[in-house]
């Protein structure tokens, strides 16, 4: 119990380090989630309306990413992306650069999230009554306006549970970046614990921080889902 003072924010305590790690984690999770949704939307449209080659390529993308552990994808993509960027830079006569951990983390986790998001959004788009989309088409709506005004708003309610899940996966996957040495919450915790030998205190504290994030976002997503479902007829009638 006396180790609780180690959680203080001022320098003898490590609280500030943990909070800095938490901010980094959330930053990466937000970025990866947003990138994942972009890739997922494009992927879902490609899988539903794309040509045969597009569909097969997307099937390979989602299958491979969902079958290979995130840790290995992170390593492969991190090295490959850094290498590729530097090759391009060198061929244009620029010096090598070091890609920042935040950017690499967002890019890598975003690609992983994109595969899951593709499946979630594809299912949600398929759940939109096809009559609505056909009606909009017969009114002569161009495809982009159709997506913006009809398909995407109508599918939001169906996609929300899956998207909430994805967000939780994104926050928890940021912990994997600890293995490649990025100073997010889990790595900061490990360093603090290893230095002070107060393992339980710090891991428990980090667990509480993660739980706070996941529980609050659970509440938030519940609200968004209720908002997205506004105007829908109630499924269950009273009595």
């Amino acid at each position: 119990m006396e180790t609780l003072s180690l959680l203080a924010l001022e320098p003898p305590g490590w609280g500030a380090n943990l909070l800095r790690g938490l901010v980094n984690s959330i930053q990466i999770a937000l970025g990866a989630f947003a990138l994942g949704l972009l890739i997922g939307t494009a992927g879902a449209y490609g899988k539903l309306y794309g040509g045969r080659v597009t569909r097969d390529l997307l099937a390979i993308y989602t299958t491979v990413v969902r079958a290979v552990p995130e840790l290995i994808l992170i390593l492969i993509l991190y090295f490959a992306v850094t290498d590729a960027v530097n090759q391009v830079l060198l061929s244009f006569g620029y010096p090598r650069i070091q890609i920042s951990g935040v950017v690499a983390g967002i890019a890598v986790l975003g690609v992983v999230q994109g595969a899951y998001a593709t499946e979630v959004l594809r299912g949600a788009i398929m759940a939109v009554p096809s009559g609505q989309i056909e009606a909009a088409r017969s009114m002569g709506m161009p495809p982009l306006m159709l997506a913006r005004r009809i398909t995407l708003p109508a599918m939001l309610a169906f996609a929300m549970p899956g998207m909430a899940n994805l967000w939780l996966i994104a926050t928890k996957d940021t912990a994997l970046l600890a293995v490649v040495g990025f100073a997010e919450l889990t790595l900061e915790t490990r360093q603090a614990a290893a230095t002070t030998k107060a393992f339980f205190t710090f891991y428990m504290a980090a667990g509480v921080l993660y739980l706070i994030v996941t529980l609050t976002s659970g509440l938030l997503f519940g609200r968004i889902e209720r908002w997205a479902r506004r105007g829908e007829p109630a499924l269950r009638r009273a009595g």
């Binding site: 552990p69 840790l71 499946e119 393992f199 996941t214």
Partner: protein, 273 residues
């Protein structure tokens, strides 16, 4: 996962000689893929493979062992967790619910490190644990790995089983009660089998996730296939090839799990109406 490509190309079978799942563009894609594999085999450095052959086999075996043992143990824990949440009294339901929430709300890597470093630093200071016969076991890393992975699987599956137990029609249970079945017999013959059959696809997906979670235990010095690949990378300073090998191994293992669960699903009797 449904395959839109399969249904879309079905009409092609009527006229052409190619089977339905192999339209021309897939042949081209397969050829490109094969040439990519050929290029990988030819130009990348695979000289280290023979030196590490047995280590790789042992690593793959350890990964399979971890997945099988922790899913079985985890599922055995998930059944009471699901039951407690679905129908248990509040003093059982509440702890089960808290357990599932905590497990699902924190990263597995943190749980692994908490158990290994936390318990691992606590145990040596307790005399009766040091003197017990279990001590040689507790000094190794793999019991902590098994414990962490088991608890994680139990936490996720406890939630799945909660829904599964609730979804079994009440009439089935009432009929079993009316036949005078004891409660445990009802559970083992009626309730559990029907609940498991309903969630088999989910369990398959979760087992693939469990496979994907195993490399995390390499961070606490358990030598499974990921740890072997890391060692190759450290010894030989080769970056990509061990990672590619890892990706192929995990793809193959995930494929085996998916096929296994598909086989299980095929054995579920479908009731004719």
């Amino acid at each position: 996962m449904s395959e839109p490509g399969l249904t879309a190309s079905a009409p092609a079978r009527a006229g052409g000689r190619l089977p339905a799942w192999l339209p021309p563009h897939r042949i081209v894609l397969a050829l490109i893929g094969l040439s990519l594999v050929w290029w990988c085999a030819g130009t990348l450095r695979w000289g280290w493979l023979p030196d590490y052959g047995w280590l790789i086999v042992a690593g793959i075996w350890r990964t399979i062992w971890l997945v099988v043992v922790t899913t079985l143990l985890g599922f055995a824990l998930a059944v009471p967790l699901g039951l407690a949440q679905a129908v248990g009294p509040w003093y059982l339901a509440l702890p089960a619910r808290v357990f599932c929430t905590v497990i699902r709300g924190t990263p597995l890597l943190l749980q692994v490190w908490l158990l290994y470093f936390g318990l691992g630093s606590l145990f040596p200071s307790i005399p009766w644990i040091r003197d017990s016969d279990l001590w040689p076991l507790l000094r190794q890393a793999w019991p902590y790995a098994v414990l962490a992975l088991t608890l994680s699987y139990a936490g996720y599956e406890g939630e799945v089983m909660r829904g599964a137990f609730k979804s079994v029609p009440r009439g089935q249970l009432e009929a079993a009660q009316a036949m005078g079945m004891p409660r445990l017999t009802i559970l083992s013959r009626i309730w559990l089998p029907q609940a498991v059959m309903q969630v088999l696809p989910t369990l398959g997906g979760e087992t693939v996730l469990q496979l994907k979670a195993t490399p995390l235990v390499a961070t606490i010095t358990v030598v499974e296939i990921y740890a072997v690949a890391s060692r190759v990378r450290q010894d030989t300073l080769i970056v990509y090839e061990p990672l590619l090998l890892l990706a192929v191994v995990y793809l193959a293992l995930a494929g085996v799990i998916v096929l296994g669960f598909r086989w299980l699903e095929g054995r579920v009797p479908v009731r004719g109406v």
